[in-house]
């Protein structure tokens, strides 16, 4: 899955607020990539590393404690806390933060 290029951050986002952007022209709204990242960070911190600064270019190979055990916990917590359902494939292969952001945007993770 190819990560999308992150859109330019808006004034509001720079002010630290979570903004919904018009998504696909059919009325759906989705979180900005930055907002999704900010939702993911506390989950990663609570499971993997309390000092982790989450960036889109991180993946399981670059974060020492993102092992297969913690990956399962991450997936369980993301499903529960963000109210999304992941498929078997997604559970297995979602080992890159940028991919996660894209997927969670598509799945309209709840605020």
């Amino acid at each position: 899955m190819k990560p999308q290029v992150a859109p330019m951050a808006s004034e509001d986002e720079r002010a630290g607020q979570i903004v919904r952007q018009s998504a696909d022209g059919n009325g759906g709204h989705r979180l900005s990539r930055e907002a999704v990242l900010r939702k993911l960070e506390p989950i990663f911190r609570s499971v993997v590393d309390p000092d982790l600064v989450l960036r889109e270019d991180l993946d399981a190979t670059k974060v020492p404690l993102w092992d297969s055990l913690n990956h399962i916990i991450l997936m369980v917590e993301i499903e529960m806390q963000l109210g999304v359902a992941l498929t078997t494939d997604e559970l297995a292969h979602l080992r890159n933060v940028g991919d996660m952001v894209t997927l969670l945007q598509q799945k309209q993770a709840r605020v």
Partner: protein, 609 residues
């Protein structure tokens, strides 16, 4: 589990861990900062071997067992190596030299993996378990196949496969060193929706949703701890409103609720449950505040009971504190507090026993008898997985001096216990609770000094020149309701005579009678009386209070018929030291006005009962 090992923060958090994340966080904390295990805990060398991914279970086991007062070294077999590990006497599992082996086998791999069919599955499991029983001296705790998601109805192939395998494993594995664990009750209680999740089996070889890990670990750890620690060996049980419905001293044996078609069924249910424990070798004992004769009569004459008096190895039936009864039972049976369970419907009695015996398991029996047996089963105290803390005092030598010192210390403790109850008693005017007062007068048999079954007119006549009161007691556990009624008559210039005094036996031993006496003394003085006269009229049921007045400092002054009369002089300042444990609030109009109201009440036509 009793969950009383909560000194360390990680153990405390473990007790409430519901998700995998919480469990792993506790385990991590325990590994780095966990309290060193107590040297008195039993030690196990636990090998975990399975046909699914058990990293999370292995990670949680030391913590889960520490929470059950067991120290564990844990070895985890590589993924799906259970057959080789058990069959090969040179395997790493054998090298580890386990004292306990948990064999965790999921139906998913058994049914759809390399082993096909019931025969092959049963043969493989039995061969592996029998091999390791021969090559080690370890206990083997093996899970029976858990329900499969494909079980729809009892004719589905998955259900037939599982029941056939389970039944044959039960029949084949009969060694005393094998414990078969059925996860079906757990699956049922969490529900299929929360249990099954194929995605995690497909990606991580977890046969249940990852967040069920703490619950599965709980079942396995209970089983291991149960194989190590003493099992439930003694149940001490209360009688009134616990073993039967009603109060035998008041309701009589005939009035006890044991009606199998009504609410009595739930008492029979508890009896049946206890009878089942007795059949498994658990010792039963009675701790009841009652008259022994009434209890024996109830057992003799209520043949529908499922327990006989002879089923109890010890019976403490008297009016002393329950903790004293428990102490005597343990002494008589020469048992430590380990594996002892105390059952009582009264939260005050439970607290009093728990306070003196922190090691004894004291379940919070629900007020609704229908909920009791299911609740007791949920505690896990009564199957072979009972866990209680080893008594630290078990081997203490009791010299005479030590005993005396302890008695003193416990007396102090008991006073502190009474203060801790935060008891407040409200004295109210009889007419403010007229129906309840009359009901108590007609119902109370045991703590009833004169047993005069007055109607309202008779009662008001008694207190016309004296005073009457009801007492309502509340404590930190709640409202005990109206627990006592007094009616004091005026006899001439000098005397106030306690014509009627009755009290609920539920509140005995809590200094209630001392507090009520202090109130009567104050009121009698207010009327200008110089003596308070007490009367005890013996009946078949009130032996309990035969010595009440002497105990309260009264002196016998004479006898007439069945009555003994006592007097307490009012002029030498009755100290009332024992009244310090209960705060007494007056909800009375002034005494004179009550007397007036009582007089008026009697004169109102149509109000006479």
């Amino acid at each position: 589990m009793t969950a009383n090992s909560t000194e360390s923060p990680s153990l405390m958090r473990y007790a409430s861990a519901r998700t995998l994340k919480e469990l792993v966080a506790c385990a991590r904390e325990y590994e780095t900062a966990g309290t060193p295990p107590s040297p008195s805990w039993p030690k196990v060398r636990l090998a975990l071997t399975a046909n699914y991914a058990t990293q999370f279970l292995a990670r949680g086991f030391p913590l889960a067992l520490a929470a059950r007062d067991v120290t564990a070294d844990v070895y985890e077999s590589p993924y799906n190596q259970w057959r080789g590990e058990l069959l090969d006497p040179a395997s790493p599992l054998h090298v580890f030299a386990p004292t306990h082996i948990v064999v965790a086998l999921t139906s998913i791999e058994l049914a759809y993996g390399a082993l096909r069919g019931v025969d092959a599955t049963v043969e493989a499991v039995v061969a592996a378990v029998e091999a390791v029983l021969k090559t080690t001296e370890a206990y083997v705790l093996i899970t029976l196949p858990e329900p499969l998601a494909d079980e729809v109805g009892d004719s589905s192939p998955a259900y037939e496969w599982r029941t056939a395998v389970s039944n044959r494993l039960r029949a084949a594995l009969t060694s005393a060193r094998v414990l078969l664990l059925d996860l079906e009750p757990l699956v049922r209680s969490v529900g299929a929706q929360a249990w099954f999740d194929d995605r995690f089996y497909d990606t991580a070889k977890l046969p249940f949703h990852p967040d069920r890990t703490p619950a599965v670990l709980g079942v396995l750890a209970d089983a291991v701890a149960g194989a190590v620690a003493p099992r439930c060996k003694l149940v001490i049980v209360d009688l009134d409103n616990t073993l039967w419905g009603g109060v035998v001293g008041d309701d009589g044996y005939a009035g006890l609720d044991l009606d199998p078609a009504g609410s009595g069924r739930h008492f029979l249910r508890l009896q049946s449950f206890l009878a089942g424990l007795r059949d498994k070798g658990v010792v039963l004992a009675i701790a009841s505040k009652n008259e022994p004769a009434a209890v024996k009569e109830a057992f003799a004459k209520r043949g529908e009971m499922m327990l006989r008096f002879d089923d109890f190895a010890a019976a403490e039936i008297h009016w002393e504190p329950k903790s004293e009864s428990v102490a005597r039972i343990l002494g008589r049976l020469a048992l430590s507090t380990a594996g002892v369970v105390f059952l009582d419907d009264n939260p005050v009695e439970r607290a009093e026993v728990q306070r003196r015996f922190p090691d004894i398991a004291v379940p919070d029996l629900p007020g609704d008898p229908a909920q009791r047996v299911p609740m007791l089963l949920r505690t896990g105290l009564f199957d072979r997985r009972l866990v209680t803390r080893e008594s630290h005092h078990r081997n203490r030598m009791y010299s005479e001096n030590a005993k005396r010192e302890e008695a003193l210390r416990e007396a102090g403790d008991y006073q502190q216990f009474l203060r801790g109850l935060q008891m407040v008693m409200v004295a109210g005017a009889l007419e403010d609770a007229r129906e309840r007062v009359i009901e108590l007068i007609h119902k109370t048999n045991q703590f009833n000094l004169t047993t005069r079954r007055y109607n309202w007119a008779e009662l008001t006549a008694v207190v016309r020149d004296g005073f009457g009161s009801f007492y309502r007691l509340t404590d930190k556990f709640g409202d005990n309701g109206i627990i006592s009624v007094i009616a004091v008559a005026r006899d001439g210039e000098d005397d106030a005579r306690i014509d009627l005094w009755l009290m609920s036996c539920r509140v005995l031993g809590r200094k209630v009678e001392e507090t009520i006496l202090a109130d009567m003394v104050a009121r009698a003085r207010g009327l200008g009386a110089r003596r308070l006269i007490g009367e005890y009229c013996a009946t078949a049921k009130n032996a309990l209070v035969g010595e009440l007045y002497p105990r309260l400092g009264f002196t016998e002054i004479g006898r007439k018929g069945a009555s003994v009369f006592y007097a307490l002089p009012l002029d030498d300042g009755h100290a009332g030291a024992d009244a310090q444990f209960i705060e007494l609030l007056q909800n009375h109009p002034p005494v004179a006005e009550v007397a007036g109201r009582a007089r008026n009440a009697q004169n109102v036509p149509g109000q006479v009962v």
